[in-house]
Symmetry: C2
Subunit: 521 residues, 2 copies
């Protein structure tokens, strides 16, 4: 049931609702144009009077923990997604809530995955009212089809922190699946049989939720170190047989591309970074989890070796490729936000060159600066871009909600944002007249790299000048678009949208940058 | 000018004011009897719009930083005391404020030291209205003499966190002296020419203050790791020639005793811990910074070696003695709260067995539990105890405010709290009819160890039973008192107090446990 809502035009010319799931929403005002007011969310003051002096907070079951948290209809339950498609907790949590007869919950994960398909039955039965968080696979389709009761609210990792911190989303109960924990609730993701790396996406939840439950399959003596999540923020600890399948964190977008075209694009991207003068001693970069971005890192590594250049830091998701660069001395540090393979997990446990970060340090727009803008270059994916460099990452050209935003919007603030993308997919051009969904404003996107050439945003005269004599195929974006349009021929039927809104996309400052409409069947 | 205030009797029978420096104060209600209401303090929401996207927050001078923070009359300026008597920052800060013509500031250090004597001139001239924080040396005398305009408010380390967290003390500007920092404001105490160890006493300040200024003498490239204080909470960075003299952190109470009596008491304490069955594999203990407590650790170490016993963790202040125990494999971890000598600083930088803690993890009573109650034994000092085991740590029998509380009150919640103290000092008995100032309720103090015998709190029947056949000189506290009173002879003239209040002592939950009165001249 998509919603017929009063829409207003925002600063990007997109029509957006001013009320999202009953909460007042501010239309996007332009990059850097919205100034927040007021104070941060303030969690209740607790007292040691109410916690066991032994420090032992272990309770017998998930059900007992939910009871002790006072679970009731209409509450918001959150979790982190560090297990990605290997999460074993959240279906159990909502199964338990269902058996307890609880209704109308809001699920607020940092991302959902295909493994969470069972949540559909909980939405059908009214246990879950709606989900706010990245949707893809079956849940993405369910929401895209207008079947979810509430609007999907797509936020970046930084935007999720901002929403919690600013009190826009109040979490009643946070569930922290923890590969290792002690009875006090200190816990870590970097060790234990289910080690998944970091727990940083659950950090805001642990700080701001009314009640925090740590669930672990590896209880160790106090103190569990490192304590990525602090037991002082934890109410209860539950011990289960298995909390997640870490071998499944390598899923979806986190495998290197085998496509010759994409490998070529990745190579071109690395050459551009070098030619533009970015690849200098002490520089920094981030490459997303997409297959092309991973390949980029491998090409850049070779160029760095040739030139004898060392980075100051690389922003992860750690992968075995980044780990090798750390081990080869090509960077002082990897700043980890999450972990994309088991070699990354091992290395972050063993190598002190890995530094744990969180959406607070890296991405939160409503902080005193963040790390994203310090990066010299960031390489990201996109589903569509337009000739003004506006980009989409959440919907495909068919209008279906199929990706989360991840850190994508946050990363756009780097000193040089590069999108390496094929110029068409399945006969559909990627450079379009207008993106289906606006997720990133063009003024923040500096370079598009396709197999047909590199387009530099005209605003970046410095980059245009720096690469003029590089021999790289620098072209106007309009030129590449025309060539692809000619090649692909008559455009496929574009999806038609109804006036029913099924979701909104938040900008990093919490304003609404676009709406997602239900596709006409 | 001590204050004539309306006083009410609290649950400990002590007369306390209900208004402290203009803020409503709750009289002590008994251990575990006060339940806080409401929500934590909520700092303003900031925006990256207002911070340099380069991440470079360096400004030219302290004066410029204070200006940018909007310093004005009546504000509260805070700092951590990790440099102890080697702090070089805070006199400069208030000298700068004085030159800027600012008046009526409240100084809110986590502790002050004799090096801060120049603050007296700022109090005389009205630049500083009053100090809230541990007072000793010249500042202690100044306040004791009733010369300070406001009341001294003595809080434990945990109580200081609680007061900030609960919004009882609002910090306008926090100054973080940092031995190493990057331009973004990430900083650490464990390295750099002025390395002092931890910065944990400044953590609450960094989280809750409106404005945070990091001052360093060792600016490094981003990222400064570890980041004990996160740059995302920092507004400005100032670079000066020297922020502190780390060689002076070994000051006052942090030297091992040479007194044969006190060495004997320390040995007796160690033997008691063993005899009581506390010294078992996986146990934990904390020994304060006092000379006797340090000696205790050395004796216990020998007993542990003999028995082949290994601790799970020791709570620091790290000293070279604890470091040796870590290196000898006598403990898995040292949980550091501060650092008491340079060997401690070196080790915490190099040995991953050191775990950084803060008053939040260790001491905050208004959290979801804290570490203090998990400890198997804690060994602390005291200036006086009474026969009901009530103890004093802030005033001497002459009524002068001469010590801070430190973590003392917080540590009382351990499973076994032991006070090794000489039975008299300078012909003044330490076991008294009534403590001059009540700082720790007797129900939390389990054992007193003197050179004349060990007194166990009658409430601890388990300890009495466990040590019955130990051969240790277990005696009634009344017996020891009588013996000392006889020995010392006619009591010296006790100080007489005026009805003017010069300070209050807070309990760990923010309630007022006692008042400090001005001594009659």
């Amino acid at each position: 049931m998509g919603q017929k809502l009063k829409l207003v035009k925002n600063a990007a010319g997109r029509k957006v609702p001013t009320l999202v799931n009953g909460v007042k929403a501010i239309p996007f005002k332009g990059v850097g144009r919205y100034s927040p007011k007021g104070v941060k969310a303030a969690p209740p003051i607790r007292s040691c009077n109410d916690y066991p002096s032994s420090g032992n907070k272990v309770v017998g079951s998930l059900k007992e923990a939910l009871k002790k948290c006072g679970v009731k209809n209409g509450m918001t339950i959150s979790n982190h997604h560090h297990f990605r498609n290997g999460d074993l907790m959240m279906n159990q949590v909502f199964d338990t809530a269902a058996k307890m007869g609880i209704k109308n919950l809001r699920w607020f994960p940092s991302a959902s995955f295909p493994c969470h398909e069972p949540m559909i039955k909980h939405m059908e039965s009214g246990v879950i009212h709606h989900i706010e968080g990245s949707l893809n696979g079956p849940l993405g389709n369910y929401a895209s089809d207008g079947k979810m009761k509430g609007l999907a609210v797509l936020r970046s990792h930084g935007g999720r922190w901002q929403a919690i911190q600013d009190g826009e989303v109040h979490i009643d109960i946070a569930i922290i699946a923890a590969p290792t924990a002690d009875p006090f609730g200190n816990c870590t993701g970097d060790r234990g049989p289910s080690a998944c790396g970091l727990l940083g996406f659950g950090l805001a939840d642990s700080l701001y939720a009314d009640h925090v439950v740590v669930v672990t399959d590896n209880l160790v003596d106090f103190p569990c170190v490192p304590w990525q999540i602090q037991g002082n923020n934890v109410d209860h600890v539950v011990v289960l047989d298995k909390v997640g399948e870490p071998e499944k964190i390598v899923s979806g977008t986190t495998q290197i591309t085998k496509s010759p075209d994409r490998l070529f694009i990745a190579e071109l991207t690395a050459k551009f970074v070098k030619a533009a003068g970015i690849m200098q001693d002490g520089f920094s970069f981030q490459a997303g989890a997409g297959g092309t971005a991973l390949a980029f890192a491998i090409y850049l590594r070779e160029l760095m070796k040739e030139a004898g250049v060392k980075a100051r830091f690389i922003r992860g998701g750690s992968t075995k490729y980044l780990v090798e660069m750390l081990e080869e001395g090509l960077t002082d540090f990897i700043l980890d936000g999450q972990t994309f393979d088991l070699e990354g997990v091992r290395s972050m446990r063993e190598n002190s060159g890995h530094i744990n970060t969180s959406p607070f340090t890296s991405y939160n727009w409503h902080g005193k600066g963040n790390f994203a803008s310090i990066l010299d270059a960031v390489v990201l994916g996109a589903t569509e871009v337009d000739v003004n460099f506006n980009a989409n990452v959440v919907t495909h050209s068919d209008g279906q909600m199929l990706h989360g935003i991840g850190g994508w919007q946050n990363c756009l603030f780097s000193k040089c944002t590069i999108l390496p993308i094929p110029s068409f997919r399945n006969r559909i051009p990627i450079i379009v007249d207008e993106v289906t969904t606006l997720v990133g404003p063009g003024e923040l996107i500096d370079v598009i790299v396709t197999e047909r050439g590199i387009a530099i945003n005209p605003k970046r005269e410095d980059l245009i000048k720096a690469t003029k004599k590089s021999g790289l195929p620098i072209r106007k974006i309009e030129e590449i678009k025309e060539e692809v349009d000619d090649l692909v021929g008559a455009p496929l039927d574009k999806p038609e949208f109804t006036d029913e809104v099924v979701g909104v996309v938040k900008w990093v400052d919490g304003t609404v940058i676009d709406s997602i409409h239900k596709v006409k069947q």
